[in-house]
């Protein structure tokens, strides 16, 4: 009985990593630092950055087309949407819409291509408030030159 139990434990210990590693890998190919959750930004060009957990990782960027209501490839400023990335990555994309942009990042290795890590973000592009120095504002008010 004891022998059977030990054999069972050994079989489980050997088999578990075989099933678990691809599962874990598929969910943790990259660690994304930007976007930092859903963000509100003022600039049209936005950087997607992160660190890869698995070697030989690939990433793809998509955006949700509002008219077609489906995800389409999102080209970076370099003109590509799919990359093989090194240990760290940083890519610039141009946001498609003023207001909400739904962005999808797909990351995988050759082993996990059919079960990629998928991250969805909403990046809201808003207009930048013009910063005005309070002193200038006050002086302009006094001099009656408020448009300055």
């Amino acid at each position: 009985m004891k022998f059977k139990f030990i054999t069972f434990i050994i079989i489980i210990a050997v088999m578990l990593p075989l099933f678990m590693v691809p599962t874990l890998a598929s969910s943790n190919v990259v660690d994304i630092s930007r976007p930092d959750g859903n963000e509100i930004v003022t600039k049209e060009v936005f950087s997607i950055c992160g660190v890869t957990i698995e070697d030989e990782a690939y990433i793809e960027f998509y955006y949700k087309d509002k008219e077609a209501d489906q995800y389409k490839p999102l080209l970076t400023t370099e003109g590509k949407y799919c990359f093989k990335v090194g240990k760290i990555f940083g890519k610039d994309i141009e946001l498609k819409y003023k207001g909400k942009n739904e962005i999808r990042i797909k990351a995988y290795t050759t082993a996990t291509k059919n079960d990629p890590q998928i991250e969805n973000y909403t990046i809201t592009l808003v207009e930048e408030k013009k910063k005005e120095n309070w002193l200038e504002k006050a002086l302009n008010w006094f001099t009656g030159d408020e448009k300055k």
Partner: protein
């Protein structure tokens, strides 16, 4: 007969007196010549008084400011905005540093309004959001700051030193007061300046400098680590190219050792030429020889210099050994700086080099001041730094020289001095390099197995790296250098084809 002999004796005595006067005059002239040579050449001479300005041909009071320059001055338009590094040595660099000096002087007259423990995220956010940042290579003790900036002894109470500074005129986070944020290793000190004596760092000056940087084809905007990699182990105020790529031009450098150093045997002329290269007119103070290891030795009354084959010049004090002296960082720094000025005045080896204080180590009774080299590329083009890597000091149990200059000094004297005695020339060949932090890090990741662990970066830079003994003329090209918590890693940059 008697009167004749008296006359002869009188004239004889007269001639003797004139001869004696001539001899005395000659003696005085001779002493003058020796005195001028001695005081001109000797760093720690028997006769020279180190406190006296006349002992050094370059006055320490006139030049002390050149040895406490910020290694990096950056301007920022805000978080996720543009960040420019102002070229060291440029007109804008001088303007901004002069402004910052006045801010420091004014702020340190008062106590800090608030002290908060240093935190990477808070500091990174400050640097990204506020307009001006000034960085030294290491934390400079407050006594050295006060002495260099001619501040009162009573100023800077409670502050141990300055490592980095952020200045924000009309700071909206501080009731629109002009604000100075000072960072040392432990805390961030916040000072308010309610009545700024000048407007050197006003927003109009900022706009002027920003517009110039933006329109200059040679200057490109950087990104800040906090904007891209906040959650990872990286210095959050690190400026680099994190997304996209960048094209930069860098010249090759020629480094040339002291003439004749590569020879197997040295003639008198070789010794003479080497002494002339190193000590200039003061060469006559030194006796030269070769030691058992083949290093050239220059001896003088109270010290010995050794010029090793790999171009390291080492000085050791051999005079009276005194008891362990009381530690005083300012006095030790003054000794080290006087010595450095004296050495630089004797030769033109460091004529195109700016030195930055990069670290201060404490020993028993003394301090070691380490200075790094940066070579000027011309006023508007800034400087490029030199990095010594795995550069061994011969006869020293595999000790490494990691800085261009290393001076050990107590409050009374200079104990030892190590110096990379190489001449650097900017070559006519200029290459273009396309790079980004991401690409270079990935290349390093493939090259160094130590980087296979988690991602970490303390600092990075484009350096000219010296790794091998420099005995003959060499051409060096730029490398990407990464500083992590575990070590320093470098990789040669590849020029565009």
């Amino acid at each position: 007969m008697n009167s004749k002999s008296k006359n002869i004796k009188f004239y004889y005595e007269k001639v003797k007196a004139i001869l004696l006067v001539c001899l005395i005059i000659l003696c005085i002239v001779q002493i003058g010549i020796l005195w001028s040579n001695q005081s001109y050449s000797s760093p720690i001479s028997l006769f020279s008084n180190s406190n006296s300005k006349n002992s050094s041909p370059v006055s320490i009071d006139d030049t002390k400011g050149e040895y406490l320059l910020p290694y990096r001055i950056a301007i920022s338009t805000g978080f996720d905005g543009e960040h420019y590094v102002i070229p060291n040595g440029s007109k804008e660099y001088t303007t901004l540093w002069n402004g910052a000096r006045q801010y420091i002087d004014q702020a340190l007259e008062t106590k800090p309004q608030k002290i908060q423990p240093f935190n990477e995220d808070d500091w990174g956010t400050l640097v990204a959001n506020k307009p001006y940042t000034f960085e030294f290579k290491t934390q400079i003790p407050i006594d050295i700051i006060k002495w260099t900036l001619n501040m009162e002894d009573s100023e800077g109470e409670g502050l141990s030193g300055i490592y980095k500074l952020v200045i924000c005129p009309d700071d909206s986070d501080n009731s629109y007061a002009d604000t100075l944020y000072v960072r040392d290793d432990k805390n961030i000190y916040i000072y308010s300046i309610n009545s700024a004596k000048n407007d050197i760092l006003s927003y109009s000056v900022f706009n002027e400098i920003y517009t110039k940087q933006k329109s200059d084809i040679n200057s490109k905007s950087y990104q800040m680590a906090i904007e891209k990699y906040r959650k990872f182990e990286i210095s959050k105020d690190l400026l680099s190219v994190f997304s996209g790529k960048r094209q930069d031009s860098y010249p090759d450098f020629i480094c040339e050792p002291i003439s004749g150093l590569d020879k197997e045997e040295y003639s008198y002329d070789d010794f003479y030429d080497m002494a002339l290269d190193l000590f200039g007119n003061a060469r006559i103070d030194y006796d030269f020889d070769v030691d058992v290891n083949g290093s050239v030795v220059f001896k003088k009354a109270d010290g010995v210099y050794r010029l090793y084959k790999n171009s390291i010049l080492e000085y050791k004090y051999t005079g009276n050994q005194t008891n362990i002296e009381e530690l005083n960082v300012l006095e030790a720094y003054k000794k080290a700086l006087s010595y450095l000025l004296e050495s630089r005045s004797q030769n033109d080896i460091m004529s195109n080099i700016t030195v930055y204080l990069s670290s201060i180590d404490i020993k028993q009774g003394s301090y070691i001041f380490n200075f790094d080299y940066s070579i000027s590329l011309g006023e508007e083009n800034g400087e490029v730094p030199i990095l010594l890597k795995d550069y061994k000091i011969p006869n020293s149990d595999n000790q490494l020289l990691s800085n261009g200059i290393s001076i050990e000094a107590s409050s009374k004297k200079v104990i030892s001095f190590k110096w990379l005695a190489l001449k650097f020339y900017v070559d006519n060949n200029i290459e273009n390099y396309e790079w980004s932090f991401v690409d270079m890090y990935s290349k390093m990741y493939d090259k160094y197995s130590e980087l296979k662990n988690e991602f970490s970066a303390k600092d990075f830079g484009i350096y000219y790296v010296l790794k091998y003994p420099q005995m003959q003329e060499n051409i060096i090209t730029p490398s990407f250098v990464l500083f992590t918590k575990d070590g320093v890693y470098d990789i040669l940059m590849e020029a565009n084809k």
